[in-house]
Symmetry: D2
Subunit: 392 residues, 4 copies
C-alpha cells in the first residue's frame, strides 16, 4: 500500500496472455495500476496476431513492444536498456512453464498465475531454474492479499486462538453446474481439458487456492489427505467437486470442500480456524470483516481498522477509510505491491518489508502442484490417505 | 399445528428422566404443551427420590403418579383406566433401551431421545419389540421439525433442484472446547463417558442429528462413508470432532462436519444441498429463512409463508404471522404434534395426516446407531470407507 | 421463566375474543401454556355463538364456561369458587375498554392487547378504574418480552453506552401494500377502519409498539414529536406509513419509522440506540443476537447466554440452550410469565421478582394512546412539533 | 469500465489538494488509475511547498509540473501543448470555488469533491461560470458509482417497483463520537469548522451524499423537508446528527438519517425504496448485493451479474467475475471513467455513452447546497417544513 512507496520510478511490467476475451488479464492490469508501482510497457497478449495488436493498443502498449510470441518478447526485452523489470504470466496452466523459465533465464522477475504449472515435473524444474537464476517469483494466490486474511494469519501466529485444532476451508462456486464447455465457453473449455489444465480440474483451479489459504492462515501443512474427486458435469473428464480430509502432524484436523457445481454460490471462499482458546472465521464475499471469538467471550467483528485483539500489530494499511469496502481488486493489487517491494528492496540492496513476503512463492506453487497430485492419487485409489509431500 | 386438532381430549403423557438439572426435560415439557395435545400426568423424573418428587411437584404431576423408578411407572400406569397414552424417554443414552422396551410391552407408545440406544444391539432388539408390539415410536430428531427444513425436503422431493449431487451438513458447537467434564459439568460428564454415551461422543450426540438431517432433506442414505474422529479435549476418550465423507449409490457425494470444539459457534447446524438445476441452504440459527436458487437465476429467500416455488405445497402451517420468528421449541413441539396425530389417527381408525409421518421412526433411530458404528469403525481403521448398513 | 415457578397451582385464565379466524388468539393461548403457569378454563371467544362454541371445544374449555358474551362471562366467573384469576382481552381495539373495565370491577386481573383502547378518553377512564380497583393489568407489548431487548434495556440503564444521544426504531411491514381490506381480509378490515381501530391506523397498530420499544430500551420518553402520517393504500382512510422525529428533554434525538407498505419486509422491527460511549442494535427477525459496541472497540455479538459486558446481570434465563433460537412465542410467553409472577406474588403477599415488572403497565398503555393522539394531531396540522403528554 | 475504452491516449489529469496527510487525495488517484483513462501529470497538492513537492514526487509528477498554488497551476497548464485536460479539486469545501472557476475559465474540465462549495452563492456563481464556459464538470457523489446503485436506479425507472411511495436513506458513522477535532484530528478539524465546511457539518459532509442518493435512485426531489440538526460532540458548533423528513409532489414520503456519532457503525449507507408493487434495498458495506422484492413473491438477492428482473438492461459491466467483491475504489473509479467518456466523446464530436451521464453534474452539486441551506434553515426555525428549492 502507500507505505511501500520507495521507488524513484515505476517498475516496467510485461504481460504474457491476457488479450481480448481474457478474464484474468484485465484483473492483473488493474491490480498492477492500483498502487502505482508499475507501468505496463510490453506484452505478448495473444497467440493471435490481431488480438495481440488490439489488446496492446487498448492497454497503451507501444506497437514495437507488442510481440507475436512470448519467445519474441523475451528476446526483445532482455536487450533493451528500458526492458521490463518483471513479467506477468496470465495464460492457461499449460503455458506457464515455458515463459516462466525463459524470462527467469533472461534475468527477468516473474509473477505467475496459479496453479504453477501443468504438472509437478514442470513445477520442480521451474523451482530449480528459480534457484539457479535467483529471480524473484510470485504466485497469485489472491486471497492471501486480503487485509483480513493477513490479519487472521498474524493472529494465529501470535497465539490469539491457541494451538490450532481445526482448519476448514471451502470454496463454493456454481458456474460449471451445466457443461458449458461443450457449448463453447472459453473459460470453461480450457479449465475442463487435461491438455490445458493438467490432472486436476476443480482441485487445480480453486482447490489449490483453498489449500493455500488453509496453509497461509494456519501456518501448517498436512501430513496426509484423503480425497474424493467427482465430475458431475455431463461428459466432463476432470473433477468439478472436491472433498478432502486432512491430518496434521500436530494432531490438528482439516477439511476442504471445493466445488464448481453448487447453484446459489458465486465465489464463496470461507476459512474457519479453531484453536484451544479461540476461533476465527472469514468469508470472501464479505471480505472486510473478520470474526473472532475468544472461548467464553462474545464474538467480535474485526474491521480493517480499529483495535486488534491481543496486541497483534495490523499487518496492512487500508487503502480507504474504514467502512468503505475493499474487495478483490485491492487484494490482487496487494500482490503486485508486495512484488514491487521485493523487487525494489532487492534493487536497493535492502531487506524487503516483511509484509511483502506474504506473496506466495514458487515453492508454495510447487506445494500446490503436489497437493493436486496427492488429491488425484488419493481419489483414483478410492479415497485413501496419502502424504501430499509438502517439502520443497 | 392448529390444523392437527382432532382429538376430543388431550393425550396423557408420562416422562422418564427430565428432573431438576436436566437440560432436555423442560424442553420436552414445553414442546408437549405448546400445541396443546398433551397433558403431563405421570413421571419417573429422577432416580433420586427427592429430586423426582420436587420435579413432579413443579410439573404439576400428582404425587401418586410420581414414581421412584420407570419400572414402577410401567406397573402403575398400565393398569389405570386413565393411564398414560404415551411416554417420553429423556434420559441419557444408556437408559433408553430398558424403559422403551418395557413401555412398549405394556402397550404404551413411546417418544425417545436420540441416539436411540447405547449400542446397535440394543437398537436392533428395540426394533424387534416395536414390530412385535406394534406400538408407535418417535425419535426426537428435532431439526426435522423446523418448517423450512420440511419445506426443503418437499422441494427436493418435488424436483425443485433436480437430481441431487451434493449434500453438505455441518453441526458446529463450542461447548466442549475445554474439558469441563473433568470439572464436574453434568451434561458434559455423561456425553463424554462411554458407559453412558456409547462408542460415539460427538458423532452420537450431534453427528446423528447431522446424518439424519442429510437423509431427511435429500431422501437418500449413503452407500459408504469415510470418517475421521478426533478427541481434542484433554483426557477425553470419546470423539469431540467428526469429519466424514459420504458416497451415494446415485453418484452423489456428501460431507458431514460435527464438532463441539469450535469457539464462536453455539449450535450452528447448516444443511446445503445441490442438484443439477438448483440449490437449497438452511442455517438453524436463522431458521425461518430457506435460501433457494434455480441455477442461472437470482437467489431467493423463502420465508415460512408466501408463494413456494415450483408449485410445491407448503407442508406446514406457521404458528405465528410471518416475520414473527419461530425457533427451537416450536420445532420440538412439531414432533409432539406429529406424535399426537399419529396416536389419535390410530385410535380413531383413520390414516394419519402425511406431515405427521415426518417424525423420525425407530427405524431411523436404528439407522443412526449403525451410522455411529460405521463412523467409529472407519475412524479406528485409520479412515477407510465402510458401508453404514442403512437397511432396517 | 422456569425460575418463576412459585405457585402451587396453575392460574385460571379466561379469554375474550380469539375464536376461530383470530390471528392473535392462538398466540395468546400458546404463550399462556408455554411456561405452564396458566390453564385456560373460560372464554367468550366470539360474538358468534357457533364460533364461540367451536373455539371453546378446540381449546378444551368446558361447555358451561364458554360464554356468549363477555358480560355473561363476567357474571359467570365472578361468582364461582374456581372462577378465573385473570382474563386476556384479545379483541380489536374498540372492544378493549368494556370488558377491561368490567373484569377489573369484578375483581379479576387483566391482560390486554395493545393499543390499550379505541381512544384516549377510554384509556384515561380505564386507568382510573385500575387505580380504584387495584387490579393487576398488563399490556402485551410483545417485543419487550424478548431476552435481548431486556438485556439492551439493562445495559443502557447500567450505563454501558453512556448518556443516550440517539434512539432510532423502525417497524417495517408490507402486508397492507395492496388494499386487501377492500377484498374482505378480516385482519386488514378492522385495522383500517376508524370505528374499530381509532384515530390511528399504522401508528396505533405498530407505531405504538415502536414507541414503547424506544421508551423501554432508552428509559426515556420524548418531550416533543413531529409526525408525518400517510395513507398510501387506495381508498384507505387511516395511515399506513408513519414518519416521526423525536426530541428528548436531555437533548437526545430520535426517529420512528413504522410502515405497512414496504414490500420485502415482514415484521422488521429494529431498535438502535447510541450513547456517548457506545451503541446497541437489535433486529426482531434475528432476535437472539444483540449487537454491542464500545466506541473504539470491535463490535460484539451478544447471545442469550455468555458473559455480559460491564458486569450487567442477565435479566432473564434462556428456555433452551444457547444456539437454539427462541422467537416470538417465547417473548409473548414471557409476558404471561411476568403476569403470573405478579399475581402469585400479590396472592402470597410478597414482592414480585423485579423482571416481572417489565410487562407493560396500563400506564404505559395510556402513554401509547397519547402518542397516537399526538402523532395524529401533529400530522393533521401539517407536521408540527407537539408534546405527547407522557405523564400518567 | 472496459467498454468505455475509446480514446487513443490517456487523458492528462491535474490535481488541486490531496497532498501528504490527505484522506481523499490517494482515493482520487487510485480511482483515476484503475480503469486507465488518465495519467496524473500536474498538481498543486498542498499549500505547504515542501509537502507539495513530496506529494508530487510520490505521485510521479514531474517537478516542473508541481505547482505552489492552484493559481500557478492554472497559468502553467493553460499554455502548454500537453497541458492537463481535466483537474480534480480535492480540497476542503472552502477551496472548491476558486480553483473550479479559474480552471473552467482556462478551458479545463473539472472533477470536484462534494459538497460543491462553501455556500450556495458560490455554487450559483459556479453554475453560471460553467454555463458560460461550457466546460464539463463532475461532482464526486461516489455512491452513485456503485454498480448495484445504478441497477436500482434503472429498475425504479423501468417501473420494477411501481410508482414510488417511500424513500429511506441513512448514512450512519461513528468517527465524531468524541470531539477529536479538539485533539487536533485534521479531518475532523475542517469538517467541524464553519470557515472550512460552511453552514452544515454532518448535513454537508454526508447528508448531501444521502440526499443525492435518494434523488439518484428514486428519480425525484422533494418539495418540502423538515430537519432536526443536532451537535452532540462537546464544544461542537456544526451538526453531527441529521434527522430529516421529506415530502414529494407525487405524494411519496422520505426520511434521511445521517450521523457521525453512532458507535458500531463505520460508513453505513443504506437506501431503501418502496413502490406500489415492489421494493429495493442496498447497503454500502455489502455493496455487491441488491435486494429486490416483488410484492407477494420471495425476496431476491441480485448480484453484479445474472438475470436482471423485468428485462432491465444492466447499466454496467463488472470489472471482475461475479463473487469477487468490488468496493469503494471501484465505485469511485466509475466516476472517473464516466468523466473520461464524457470528455472523449466531446473531443470526438459524438454523444457520450448514456451510463456516463450518471456522474453527478454541477447542477446536482447546486441542489446539494440548497439542500444544506434548507436543512439548516428548517432546523434553526425549530424544525419547520421548508422547500429545498430544487430547481437549477
Amino acid at each position: 500500500m502507500a507505505s511501500f512507496r520507495s521507488a524513484s520510478r515505476r517498475l516496467r511490467l510485461g504481460m504474457v496472455g491476457g488479450g481480448p476475451g481474457s478474464l484474468i488479464g484485465p484483473v492483473h492490469r488493474m491490480a498492477a495500476r492500483l498502487d502505482d508501482h508499475f507501468e505496463l510497457v510490453a506484452g505478448a497478449l495473444s497467440s493471435d496476431a490481431e488480438r495481440a495488436r488490439q489488446g496492446a493498443s487498448e492497454a497503451h502498449i507501444a506497437p514495437d513492444r507488442s510481440y507475436h510470441t512470448w519467445q519474441a518478447m523475451v528476446d526483445g526485452e532482455r536487450n533493451r536498456d528500458d526492458g521490463i523489470d518483471v513479467v506477468a504470466i496470465v495464460t492457461p496452466n499449460h503455458l506457464h512453464y515455458g515463459p516462466a523459465k525463459a524470462f527467469m533465464e533472461a534475468g527477468i522477475d516473474v509473477i505467475c498465475d496459479k496453479p504453477l504449472t501443468l504438472n509437478t515435473a514442470e513445477a520442480e524444474d521451474l523451482v530449480a531454474v528459480q534457484q539457479k537464476t535467483g529471480r524473484l517469483f510470485g504466485v497469485t494466490h489472491t486471497y492471501a492479499g486480503y487485509p483480513m486474511v493477513r490479519q487472521a494469519k498474524a493472529m494465529v501466529a501470535a497465539g490469539a486462538i491457541g494451538p490450532v485444532r481445526l482448519v476448514n476451508v471451502e470454496y463454493v462456486q456454481s458456474w460449471l453446474t451445466e457443461p458449458i464447455e461443450a457449448a463453447g465457453n472459453k473459460q470453461a473449455g480450457w479449465r475442463t481439458d487435461p491438455a490445458f489444465s493438467g490432472a486436476g480440474g476443480c482441485v487445480a483451479d480453486i482447490g489449490t487456492h483453498a489449500y493455500h489459504l488453509a496453509g497461509f492462515v494456519s501456518g501448517m501443512l498436512p501430513d496426509a489427505i484423503c480425497a474424493d474427486l467427482t465430475a458431475f458435469g455431463k461428459g466432463r473428464v476432470l473433477d468439478d467437486n472436491v472433498h478432502i480430509l486432512m491430518r496434521y502432524a500436530s494432531g490438528a484436523r482439516g477439511m476442504i470442500w471445493a466445488t464448481q457445481v453448487a447453484p446459489g454460490n458465486d465465489n464463496g471462499i470461507r476459512v474457519r480456524i479453531y484453536g484451544e482458546t479461540g476461533g476465527l472465521s472469514w468469508f470472501q464475499e464479505q471480505p472486510n470483516d473478520l470474526h473472532f471469538t475468544r472461548f467464553g467471550e462474545a464474538p467480535q467483528r474485526l474491521g480493517r481498522a480499529g483495535v486488534m485483539p491481543g496486541g497483534v500489530a495490523r499487518p496492512y494499511e487500508p487503502r480507504a477509510a474504514v467502512g468503505h469496502p475493499e474487495g478483490y481488486l485491492e487484494a490482487f493489487a496487494q500482490l503486485y505491491t508486495d512484488m514491487a517491494e521485493q523487487i525494489t528492496a532487492r534493487n536497493e540492496g535492502r531487506a524487503a518489508k516483511p509484509d511483502s513476503r506474504q506473496l506466495a512463492t514458487i515453492g508454495e506453487g510447487l506445494i500446490g502442484m503436489r497437493f493436486v497430485d496427492a488429491a488425484v492419487a488419493s481419489s483414483r485409489q478410492g479415497g485413501v490417505w496419502v502424504g501430499p509431500d509438502s517439502q520443497v
